[in-house]
């Protein structure tokens, strides 16, 4: 039996449902031994579910798993490890205040007394480090190591447990470009030693530069398998996003007026110091819908949260409705609502509503201090319910029962309730994240029409969505985010999937955001000299 003839991993007709969600639909996959195999797909395409099945976290409803030619059923991850599979999670599974050595032997200590196991492990790890070029100080504590080295420890840990097949879930998400380069160099060394690598990512650039084969998932299905040398970023982007029925939205030409929001050189760093938004500048004008396209996780969440005052920006400034916000002078979300900025959050369960609360209480979120609902200190229950009933009838929320627990509404109706709450108070600026995620077709049309109505009433709408169809049919102008930067600006009338896909993968020449900003300022209105220098 020669090495190249065997498949390291063979998945046959893997099927997995979570209730109504068909997370994996008859997924087949063959990974050649000693290759680097990429799996790409948007968030929610089913990549993580598939890998969890392979690693024994979930069990498939149907289908077969073969590892190195042998059939397996994994009921927990120990069995997968025993079969030679190692996994490096996106979020590391390391004990922060343990040393590297202690972390590696965790789970395979080798007896009640640590000393023997430690000595043996030290020897083996030194060998592994030499063979694969995975140099790391075994006695350093994890919290003293940079993220790139912590990841290296994860890889060592998997190899130490005898992994012949390494699965890496979004490994570069937390790495700097230099650390990424280093990781890819390690991939090469591993490959040369016959280790098979499965790389799960939505970064097409990385797929093209390191993998041998690539498989594309969309909506729970494997839609394509390609040899990396025969494909392109452009094709992969198209495959990932897919072509769906373009929902037609009735809309007149936009009657664009003065800008209501000016975002200048906005930067947002997360707790780890990674730049989630980098130098983002744009204007949002009355009477238009500005679409923000991009593969999920490229800074859209941070954009919405920074603009609505939920998170603080690191630098830059935002002028909105006559107020200016910057790193030193934040505007709180409640103040934003008062001045006329409403926000429909991307994740309705995490932010949009409180699932334990009744619909009438969820319909109050963000507006509980409204004098119209309070009489003195009393939060007037009748008015709270009337408010909810009015919202429910305006947006056709079913069932129209203000007492029903928020969790018991369907996704579409929850979303309509949130949209009603944010839109019915007639804000001047509306930020909307993923308005139709998990919403049925009928409701989608209704929601799109409401957004267009807002636009026609002279309001400014910022629409963030990972659905390209939605972006193209609802927006008037589109900006594209990739890695926290604006990598494309285009009028919706000029946009097609191909161009947007290229922009989303940052395959076009990057556009200088500052220059574009200046162009816009010059063309739309007289800008003060001061602003030009910002």
């Amino acid at each position: 039996m020669t090495m190249t003839d065997t498949f390291a991993i063979e998945l046959i007709d893997i099927d997995k449902r979570f209730g109504a969600v068909h997370a994996n639909n008859k997924v087949c996959l063959q990974v050649k031994q000693g290759n680097i195999h990429g799996i790409v797909g948007e968030n929610g395409a089913g990549k993580s579910t598939l890998m969890s099945i392979l690693y024994g976290f979930y069990q498939a409803d149907a289908g077969q798993i073969k590892v190195l030619g042998q059939s397996h059923t994994f009921t927990d991850s120990h069995q997968a490890i025993a079969a030679g599979i190692g996994m490096v999670h996106q979020h590391f599974m390391l004990v922060e205040n343990f040393t590297v050595l202690e972390n590696v032997i965790l789970g395979s200590e080798g007896g009640a007394l640590l000393a023997n196991g430690m000595a043996a492990a030290r020897k083996e790890l030194t060998r592994l480090a030499d063979v694969y070029g995975l140099k790391v100080d075994l006695d350093a504590t994890i919290d003293s190591l940079p993220v790139g080295l912590q990841q290296r420890v994860e890889i060592l840990k998997a190899l130490y447990k005898g992994a012949k097949i390494l699965i890496l879930d979004e490994p570069t998400g937390v790495l700097t470009p230099q650390e990424t380069e280093e990781l890819f160099r390690i991939f090469d060394a591993l490959k040369q030693q016959g280790v098979t690598i499965m790389l799960i990512t939505h970064k097409l650039r990385e797929i093209i530069s390191v993998t041998d084969q690539v498989s594309v998932m969309r909506a729970g299905q494997m839609v394509a398998h390609r040899d990396t040398c025969d494909t392109s970023r452009e094709e992969l982007a198209k495959l990932m996003v897919g072509r769906k029925v373009l929902l037609q939205v009735n809309k007149k030409a936009a009657n664009v007026r003065a800008p209501l929001m000016k975002v200048k050189r906005l930067c947002v760093a997360d707790d780890q110091g990674v730049m989630r938004l980098n130098d983002v500048s744009f204007e949002l004008r009355a009477g238009e819908v500005l679409g923000v396209a991009g593969v999920s996780g490229n800074g859209q969440t941070q954009l919405l949260e920074a603009l609505s005052g939920i998170i603080n920006m690191t630098s830059g400034s935002v002028e909105v409705l006559g107020f200016t916000m910057d790193a030193k002078n934040p505007i709180t979300p409640d103040k934003m609502r008062q001045i006329g900025l409403a926000h429909v959050p991307e994740d309705r369960h995490r932010m949009g509503l409180i699932t334990h609360f009744s619909a009438s209480e969820s319909a109050l979120l963000g507006y509980h201090t409204d004098p119209k609902i309070n009489s003195g200190i009393w939060l007037n229950k009748n008015r709270v319910e009337d408010n909810c009933k009015a919202l429910m009838s305006a947006f056709d929320v079913r069932p129209a029962d203000p007492h029903l627990k928020s969790a018991n509404f369907s996704g579409g109706n929850q979303q309509k309730l949130i949209l009603a709450r944010e839109m019915e108070r007639n804000p001047d600026v509306l930020l909307i994240g993923q308005p139709t995620r998990g919403v049925d077709i009928g409701a989608i049309e209704f929601i799109h029409q409401r957004i267009i109505d807002m636009r026609d009433a002279g309001k400014a709408v910022l629409l963030v969505s990972v659905e390209l169809d939605e972006i193209m049919s609802v927006s008037d102008r589109i900006i594209v985010l990739c890695d926290g930067q604006i990598t494309g600006r285009i009028d919706a009338s000029d946009a097609d999937e191909k161009t947007l896909g290229m922009m989303m993968a940052n395959a076009l020449d990057p556009i200088d955001p500052l220059k574009t900003m200046d162009d816009q300022l010059a063309s739309t209105q007289q800008a003060s000299a001061q602003e030009n220098q910002v």
Binding site: R17, G366, L379
Partner: protein, 377 residues
């Protein structure tokens, strides 16, 4: 009855009931092991708690303390905070109430003294909770750790103050001088006598009314004001609260101060209502008991009142038991209380999966829906 209503009833009524029955069943085994007839013991206990007027008075008197601390723990719970500093807050509340009375002119009327002592108890109890709250909100120190440490700080502080500052002149016992009689919270039997009813004397005083008023106020505050809304929103979903513009730091401070203030009121019942002087260790057990009361009462004032009465029964009936039966010491109360806490608190949901499986079985479609939401979340 649809499934949601059934589950609601299981959660609200059946589960606490089964938990208590289990606790009593295990208590019965303990009695049987120490050669006490459990049925006889139960009779003595119930007679002690309900059999005569004085017993009833004691039961309600103890329950009053548990209502205060139960409400205190519940308010913090609703904000997503676990206040286990009720002991210290109650103790410091006593200092507040005592100082308010001792520093005022003894000739003043009860209309001044009683409100002043209540305010003193609220203020000092709240203040003692404010420090851990501040540390949690602005310094990230975990409230469970700080509140429990503040119980010890309170105990030490009070020893110092009682021995060196407030001890009655010429006395060796660390207790303050007697409060002036017009500073005493009226006893219920005295008030009843005023209306022409004759009740046996007991420590039960008008603080019980204060406890009921507090229960109503807490209910109103949490469910019928915008501040209560903000507290509950923060406790249920912190991210949604931040999204809505609620400031979690402020919520921590407000909820903890209210919680501490309510715990402080224990001293009004104990000191202003019964002991009539500032003494040591009047608060022992009520702060921790309040946690069990709040959990058993499902964090709702009505449930808390019911749970507090149960604990009052255990306290008073247990004392009677120790008095009547030679081979039982007063510590049996602690055992019973411990078992109730074990089954109603720690093992709160032990029967839940089984109850739901048998009484509210899932239809197939509904089941998959639930899994989907869990995965989605």
């Amino acid at each position: 009855m649809n499934r949601d209503t059934r589950i609601a009833w299981i959660n609200r009524l059946l589960l606490p009931l089964l938990n208590i029955i289990t606790a009593f069943a295990v208590t019965a085994v303990v009695f049987w092991l120490i050669d006490v007839n459990p049925i006889e013991a139960a009779q003595v206990l119930l007679y002690g708690a309900f059999g005569y007027e004085e017993g009833i008075g004691y039961t309600i008197y103890y329950a009053t303390n548990f209502i205060f601390t139960g409400l205190a723990v519940a308010v913090a719970f609703h904000a997503g905070l676990f206040n286990i500093g009720g002991e210290g807050q109650a103790y410091l509340g006593g200092l507040g109430a005592g100082l308010a009375i001792l520093l005022l002119d003894p000739s003043l009327s009860a209309w001044v003294f009683i409100p002043a002592s209540i305010i003193g108890a609220l203020f000092f109890g709240g203040l003692w909770a404010l420090i851990p709250a501040y540390l949690q909100a602005y310094r990230g120190s975990h409230i469970v750790i700080t509140t429990i440490m503040f119980n010890f700080l309170a105990a030490s502080l009070m020893v110092y103050i009682m021995v060196h500052v407030l001890r009655e002149t010429g006395q060796m016992t660390p207790q303050s001088e007697l409060f002036p009689t017009n500073a005493w919270m009226p006893f219920v039997h005295d008030v009843a006598a005023g209306f022409g009813y004759s009740i046996e004397a007991s420590p039960l005083n008008m603080s019980v009314l204060l406890a009921l008023v507090c229960a109503v106020l807490v209910w109103f505050f949490l469910w019928h004001t915008r501040w209560g809304y903000a507290i509950r929103a923060t406790g249920k979903n912190g991210s949604a609260a931040v999204y809505s513009g609620i400031k979690p730091k402020r919520i921590i401070i407000v909820a903890m101060c209210i919680s501490g203030a309510l715990a402080g009121l224990v001293s009004v019942n104990e000191l202003v209502g019964y002991q009539h002087r500032l003494i040591m260790d009047f608060h022992l057990g009520y702060g921790f008991g309040g946690i069990a009361v709040a959990l058993m009462g499902r964090k709702h004032p009505i449930g808390i009142i019911m749970a507090a009465v149960l604990f009052g029964i255990l306290y008073q009936g247990g004392a009677e038991l120790a008095f009547e039966m030679s081979n039982i010491s007063r510590d049996i109360v602690v055992v019973m209380q411990g078992l109730v806490i074990l089954f109603c608190g720690a093992l709160e949901y032990m029967y839940r999966p089984w109850l739901i499986r048998t009484l509210a079985p899932v239809k197939q479609a509904a089941a998959s829906q639930e899994v989907a939401t869990e995965v989605g979340a």
